[in-house]
C-alpha cells in the first residue's frame, strides 16, 4: 500500500554531504501502526520528508522509490502530485503550535485543499470540514476561530482532522504529541487509536519516545545513524530485542515498578553522518563489538521473526 524502497537522502552543502537516510526500505500494510524510533538527529524527520517528496534544498533524495498504490511518488509531475497528495497520504506535523497558519480561519485552511485541488464547492468543503472536526471532538462553532483562539490540544486535534479530510490510506505523524502535556498527550493518542479503528487508515508514527511506540505500534523500526537496525513486530522487539542498540534503548527506559537507582544509558555519540561509515555504525558504542564489526557492514537479515542488522546473529 505504501512502500519505501532503498531510499537514500540527505543534505547537500558546498563541499560535504550529510547522508541522513541510508538505504532505508519499509512497507506499510492496511491497518498498520508503523513506529519509527531513534534518537535526535538519526534521520527520522528527513526520512519522512523524503518519503513524502517534501525534502527541500539543501535536502536531496539521491536514490530510491516511494510507491503509493503502485505510483512512484518521487517521479510524479506536479499536476499528478496535486491529486495524490493528501488524498492517498497525509501528514500531522511535529509541533501543535506552528502547524496552523495564524492568519487563516480554521475552516479556511482546512477547506482550501478541497476547493483548490479536489473540485469541492465551497459549501461541500465546509460541510466536510465540519464533519471531520466533529470526528475529533471539536464543535462546529470553532470553524470560525483563528488558531490562537484554540488551546494546544485543540490545535493538534484540528491538524488531525485536517489530515483525515480526504480519508487517506496512510497518515504520517511526526512527534504529534511532543509539545503537549502528558494528560492531553494521552487523550490525543487514545483518540488517534479510536479514529484508526473507525476510519481504517495506517499510521507511520515517528518519535524519539520509544516507550510510546511499544505501547501503540504494531510494527516498529529502530533507526540509528540514518539506517534501520531492527524492524519487526512491536511486541516481539520489545520482549526479545536483538540489536545491542535496541537492547540499550529498552534498558534505558525508567521502570515504574523497580527503584530508580540505576539510570542506564548508552555511552558515546552517534557517528558523523557526513563521513563514510566503515563497518557497523554502532560498533564504537557497542559492548559486543568484535573484529568483524570494524571491517564489514552488517546487512538486515531475518532472525527470529524480525529483521536485524548485526553480526552477532
Amino acid at each position: 500500500m505504501f512502500e519505501v524502497l532503498e531510499l537514500n537522502a540527505g543534505y547537500e552543502f558546498r563541499n560535504r554531504f550529510v547522508h541522513a537516510v541510508r538505504n532505508v526500505s519499509f512497507k506499510v500494510e492496511q491497518d498498520d501502526f508503523f513506529g519509527i524510533a531513534g534518537e535526535s538527529g538519526c534521520g527520522k524527520t528527513t526520512l519522512m520528508l523524503a518519503s513524502l517528496g517534501l525534502l527541500k534544498k539543501p535536502g536531496k533524495v539521491i536514490s530510491g522509490r516511494v510507491l503509493v498504490e503502485g505510483l512512484n511518488l518521487l517521479a510524479l509531475s506536479n499536476d499528478e502530485l496535486k491529486k495524490v497528495r493528501w488524498k492517498k497520504v497525509s501528514l500531522v506535523t511535529q509541533s501543535s503550535m506552528n502547524s496552523l497558519n495564524p492568519v487563516m480561519k480554521v475552516k479556511d485552511q482546512m477547506a482550501d485543499v478541497l476547493i483548490r485541488n479536489h473540485g469541492f464547492s465551497k459549501s461541500d468543503a465546509y460541510e466536510l470540514v465540519k464533519e471531520k472536526l466533529k470526528l475529533v471532538g471539536i464543535t462546529p462553532d470553532r470553524m470560525e476561530s483563528y488558531p490562537h483562539q484554540l488551546s494546544g490540544g485543540m490545535r493538534q486535534r484540528v491538524v488531525i482532522a485536517m489530515a483525515l479530510l480526504l480519508s487517506p490510506r496512510v497518515i504520517f505523524m511526526d512527534e504529534p504529541t511532543t509539545a503537549l502535556d502528558v494528560v492531553v498527550q494521552r487523550s490525543i493518542l487514545q483518540q488517534i487509536e479510536e479514529l484508526k479503528k473507525k476510519e481504517h487508515f495506517s499510521i507511520v508514527f515517528i518519535t524519539h519516545d520509544i516507550s510510546l511506540l511499544f505501547e501503540l505500534a504494531t510494527k516498529i523500526a529502530i533507526m540509528y545513524a540514518g539506517e534501520f537496525v531492527e524492524v519487526g513486530e512491536a511486541t516481539l522487539v520489545y520482549s526479545r530485542p536483538l540489536h545491542p542498540y535496541t537492547k540499550g534503548l529498552i534498558e534505558a527506559l525508567p521502570s515504574i515498578s523497580k527503584d530508580l537507582e540505576k539510570y542506564k544509558s548508552i555511552p558515546g555519540r552517534p557517528p558523523d553522518l557526513t563521513l563514510k561509515i566503515e563497518g557497523c555504525p554502532f560498533r564504537e558504542r557497542c559492548s559486543f563489538a568484535f573484529e568483524r564489526c570494524r571491517v564489514e557492514k552488517p546487512e538486515l537479515r531475518f532472525v527470529n521473526g524480525r529483521w536485524v542488522a548485526c553480526h552477532l546473529y
Binding site: 520528508l49 497558519n101 485543499v113 491538524v159
Partner: protein, 327 residues
C-alpha cells in the same frame, strides 16, 4: 465589541502621545538661548530700539507679562486653529503660507516614492525569499545589498549629472516648469516630468531595505510547520507563497512602512537640495540655518502629527491583517 474596544484604546493612546509631542514642541524652543524678537530685528540693522523689540515680542506672543502657562495654552489654541505664527526667515509671511507652498510638493514626491518603493521592494523580497536557493533569489539579494550601500545623495548627483546635464533627458531643478505657465493636464505632466529623477533617487535609496526586510521575514516564516503542511497538502506554489508565507511575513514590514509614511512629511532633505526641489526638507534646512523657530516648530508639529497618524492607521490595518492583535 472587542474591535470597538481596540479602536477606542488606540485613539486614546494617539491623543495622549500627540499631547506630549505638542508639549515638548512648546518647551524645547523656549530652552534655546537668545531672543527671537531681537533676532528678527537684527536683520534690519545694528541699532535696534528697545521699544521696537518690545513691540515685536508682543507681536510674537512672547511678552513678559504673560506667564509661561498662558503662553502654553495660547500655543495649543493657535496650533489647533492652524495659526503657526510668522516665519522669521520669510518675514512677514505667515508660517502657514510657507508650509502651504512646500508641503504638497513633499507629500507628492516623497509619499509616492515611499509607496512605490515599499510595494516594489516587498514584492521582490517575497520572490527572493521564496526562491532563496535559486539564482534569481541570490541575484535579488546581491542587488539589494548593493542598493543599500549606495550613498544616495551621491547617486542623486550622479543622476542629475548623467540624465539631467549630460543627456538632458530630465530637468535640472524645480518641481514644475517655470519657463511657461501651464494648466490642467499639461501642468500635471510637467510635475511628473520634474519628479522623475528625485523620486528615482528616493526609490533606489530605500528599495534595498524593503527587499531585505521582506526576504528575511519570508525565510523565517518558511521554516514554520504550516508551510510544510501546506506543501504536503499539494497546494499550488503560488498560493502557498502568497497566502501562507507572504501573508504572515508582511506583518513586520507593515509596521516599518507606517513609520516611514509618517516621516514623509519631514521631506527628503538631501534629495530636495540636490534637485532644488521646493519641499519641506529644504525649507526645514533653511529654517534651521536662520533659526526660524516658528517654522521649525510648525514642521516638527506636522512631523509628529503625521507619524502618529500613520501609526494609528497602521494599527488599524494591522488589526485587520493579523487576527491575533484583535484578541
Amino acid at each position: 465589541m472587542k474591535v470597538l474596544k481596540y479602536v477606542v484604546n488606540r485613539l486614546f493612546f494617539f491623543a495622549i502621545t500627540l499631547f506630549f509631542a505638542l508639549t515638548l514642541n512648546f518647551v524645547i524652543p523656549r530652552f534655546m538661548p537668545g531672543d527671537p524678537a531681537e533676532r528678527i530685528l537684527m536683520r534690519f540693522g545694528p541699532n535696534i530700539d528697545e521699544q521696537a523689540i518690545e513691540a515685536m515680542r508682543i507681536a510674537l506672543g512672547l511678552d513678559k507679562e504673560k506667564g509661561l502657562l498662558r503662553q502654553y495654552f495660547e500655543y495649543l489654541k493657535n496650533t489647533f486653529s492652524g495659526n503657526f505664527g510668522i516665519s522669521y526667515l520669510h518675514y512677514p509671511v505667515p508660517v502657514k503660507q510657507v508650509l502651504a507652498s512646500s508641503l504638497p510638493w513633499t507629500l507628492g514626491l516623497v509619499g509616492t516614492s515611499t509607496v512605490i518603493s515599499f510595494i516594489l521592494g516587498t514584492l521582490l523580497g517575497v520572490y527572493a525569499g521564496w526562491h532563496r536557493d535559486r539564482r534569481a533569489g541570490s541575484g535579488i539579494l546581491i542587488f539589494s545589498l548593493c542598493l543599500r550601500s549606495i550613498a544616495y545623495f551621491w547617486l542623486a548627483m550622479l543622476f542629475l549629472y548623467v540624465f539631467g546635464y549630460r543627456l538632458g533627458w530630465f530637468p535640472l531643478s524645480n518641481a514644475y516648469s517655470t519657463k511657461e505657465t501651464l494648466h490642467g493636464f499639461r501642468f500635471v505632466l510637467s510635475v511628473i516630468y520634474h519628479a522623475v529623477l528625485p523620486s528615482m533617487t528616493l526609490i533606489v535609496a530605500s528599495l534595498g531595505n524593503w527587499i531585505l526586510t521582506m526576504r528575511n521575514n519570508m525565510i523565517s516564516v518558511l521554516a514554520e510547520d504550516y508551510i510544510t503542511l501546506a506543501e504536503a497538502k499539494g497546494l499550488g506554489e503560488g498560493y502557498i507563497m502568497l497566502h501562507y508565507a507572504a501573508r504572515n511575513a508582511i506583518l513586520p514590514s507593515i509596521t516599518a512602512f507606517g513609520i516611514s509614511l509618517g516621516f514623509v512629511v519631514s521631506g527628503a532633505l538631501l534629495t530636495e537640495i540636490v534637485y532644488s526641489y521646493p519641499g519641506v526638507g529644504y525649507q526645514l534646512y533653511r529654517a534651521v540655518l536662520s533659526q526660524d523657530f516658528p517654522l521649525i516648530q510648525a514642521i516638527f508639529f506636522f512631523v509628529s502629527l503625521s507619524v502618529l497618524l500613520a501609526n494609528l492607521i497602521m494599527d488599524f490595518l494591522y488589526a485587520f491583517l493579523d487576527p491575533r492583535v484583535r484578541g
